[in-house]
Symmetry: C2
Subunit: 499 residues, 2 copies
Amino acid sequence: MKSQLTIFNTFSRQKEVFEPLNPPFVGMYVCGPTVYSDVHLGNCRTFITFDLVYRYLLHLGYRVRYVRNITDVGHLESDADEGEDKIGKKARLEQVEPMEIVQRYTNGFRQVMQQFNVLPPSIEPTATGHLMEQIEMVQKILDNGLAYEKNGSVYFDVAKFVQQYPHYGKLSGKVVDDLLQETRDLKRQDEKNNPADFAIWMKASPEHLMRWKSPWSVGFPGWHLECSAMSTKYLGEQFDLHGGGMDLQFPHHENEIAQNVGCCGVAPVRYWMHGNMLTITGQKMSKSLGNSILPHELFSGENKFMSQPYSPMTVRFFMLQTHYRSTLDFSDAALLAAEKGYKRLMNALQLLPELQHPGNTPPQMPDEDAAVQAACNALYDHMSDDFNTAMVLADLFELSGKINALYNKQLPPDALGLETFNRLQSVFPAFVQDVLGLADDTAAANNQLSDGLMSLILDIRAEARAKKDWPTSDLIRNRLNSLHVVVKDGKDGTTWTVE
Amino acid sequence: MKSQLTIFNTFSRQKEVFEPLNPPFVGMYVCGPTVYSDVHLGNCRTFITFDLVYRYLLHLGYRVRYVRNITDVGHLESDADEGEDKIGKKARLEQVEPMEIVQRYTNGFRQVMQQFNVLPPSIEPTATGHLMEQIEMVQKILDNGLAYEKNGSVYFDVAKFVQQYPHYGKLSGKVVDDLLQETRDLKRQDEKNNPADFAIWMKASPEHLMRWKSPWSVGFPGWHLECSAMSTKYLGEQFDLHGGGMDLQFPHHENEIAQNVGCCGVAPVRYWMHGNMLTITGQKMSKSLGNSILPHELFSGENKFMSQPYSPMTVRFFMLQTHYRSTLDFSDAALLAAEKGYKRLMNALQLLPELQHPGNTPPQMPDEDAAVQAACNALYDHMSDDFNTAMVLADLFELSGKINALYNKQLPPDALGLETFNRLQSVFPAFVQDVLGLADDTAAANNQLSDGLMSLILDIRAEARAKKDWPTSDLIRNRLNSLHVVVKDGKDGTTWTVE
């Protein structure tokens, strides 16, 4: 019996039983990256979190349509509809076409996701790929009387909206009256009826590079709009799950709800999920504090905070040790410990297929059998408890201990009953690989290993020759031959190649 | 002195000196895949060909904006504007959203390109991402009187167009009068004034899944239109290079020219390049003949035509052996030979940094020195001669011979002058890796190698123990320790892990 999946819903601030609208189908939307710079570790954590959600839903047998967008236009430097487009600015500084910036950082993002073994989403739509859908949505919101046009830009009328939808602000815990009475002294604000209003279409200034025709002006969509338009197109007006980083609750997600309600008359999302932030040795990670590390700097070891490189799988394991709703603190000591833990898990994974069971059904050690069954159940209980990966890892370590004990004969081969043995054989790798997405990256280490092993073999060979131990010397020659290893003795020493 | 780059221009049917419009900038467009199924080897050949063009232009110092599109809508089953949308059909059969089909095969395509070490283009735009641009282009062609609307679809008026542009048909070698007089008996044809006309906007039938609003109907763009719209947007109305497979000359590229001239009044492309097709053991490769192999089947060895798996780099090397304008024939014997050639090249690449030069400038063997200089020059001459990669490989093998001779001391270390030695050190890897894009994939083979080497070491260890040869046994233990290799002796034999 698998336990019921419960999810902490940011909207209600409580854990709720997950009941999809149209089982076995699940619609899931996650706000993807704005592709104007290298993806940072905080973003990676968010995407790994929702990769776990996606993987677990798939494991439970749901048919998930997972949409994670690419923001390639409309994300301005300031949340108050001010400043330059982040991508346009980068393109201007580098004197290239904005879409070249988009392509470069989209490629980089995909590469990092692949390194972290994050599954690609079912659909990865782009904001620029959905201009028509966004323009249509603006028109509908205007038609519904919840937006107004000024000087070619269109603003969402928050004051009017809250009269018909009382929940504006609930998701992010904002008090609407405070929002409406806030005063801001920024350029674009004088076009707004109220500072709480936000742009859904913006007229492009002459120097703005990315621009499209619309009924109101040659311009570009507001940042929040794309997610409303794309989730509606691919998942419908109402869908099951929406995720993102905690920093997106306001204004992004709050305004997404407003746009959807304003356009289609219905709140779009059943379960809102938000991942927490990163710190490094206790401090917020940020470029301005000079303590931010990029993924590739962590993998290569080229950073000033860590004593050694950490593989993508070690970092993924490390992230799983903390629940997604808690702050995660990066430190060398914690990553070192994670590396050990990850290797222990991989070792158990490698030993598991080597175990043999004699085939007799009743367990010889009923306590051990019960313990393995309990740990297998606990995997589901913990993962179903709002994706408690920290506890899932603890369960997996308990099972690793049993695997090691069986392998080392500390437990007899028939300690477990056949049924339990078979369950262990299927559930353990399923959770490690399919659900947690921990792949075995030790293959990469094998190149260095070959070098080390060959150096040892060549030393043994030299020693054997010196001792005139011809059988050993012949054994080495023949076996290296069969491995296509060619050894060359030169004036400056011995070298080898594979031919 | 580097030789002048010449390119065979399909439009003029002759080799022409390459003179970009705005040096050092080069604009280059290649028709990418229609993402409704796994990319086939013929497509891969095309993309590898233009990867070589892109890489060589970069190597020559050009700043290249390389646009390669993804066709995700509008490509119908028949070239005569008939049949279902290829992606829509697949989506209907699998009961998923068309964009899920697009995402799946786009991911697969990118993965195969990565395996073949094909550089990502500067911009990878999608047809669905440029609906507005396509609709604008249709409007302009209508405004220019070169298209007409019927029942919500818009057709390009070829008969009228050829009166003002006499070159329609020239690229593909078609006689316009034949095209205009051809009669076809197909459904959509009765809307056309002339069977040679082609759709630039199509009204969607009720069951058509992918559809957008336009001034003429809710519908979708004609397949040829996207390339005109995207090349104009990202490269301008006129740009340097346009590539694609030979099968795209008609109708796709012919109509692309017509649309651009019809919209902007100017022929878009300076140099048209087309890659030739594939055969397998002398026959056309096709699904219906049952002799088609997918890239992953070639890499895994799971196919009925080849005696063994071939790595992506072996296949890439194999393709380079034939000039891009010749037919390429896949056969086991040819691939086996390519594998040997590829390994020889990789071996020379590995040996090169180990060579040392004593530093005296005048060469001790002037003939050898001259031969190396000549081969280095030939690399540029041959690559600049319409990308003659077959000859470039021959030059590289000549240089490999010199590298081996220097390494094996068949040539003295100062056979070459220092200048020539340094040129060899820079030009050889630049051509192998940067220009030809041949990466060293022998790392993947290293895992198997480690297994083989450890098995040998464990046998030596067993033998040493049996002989009470404690020094050897201790040496092995200590060195394996330092490599973090843990050996476990069990009842059923000895195993090892890296911890």
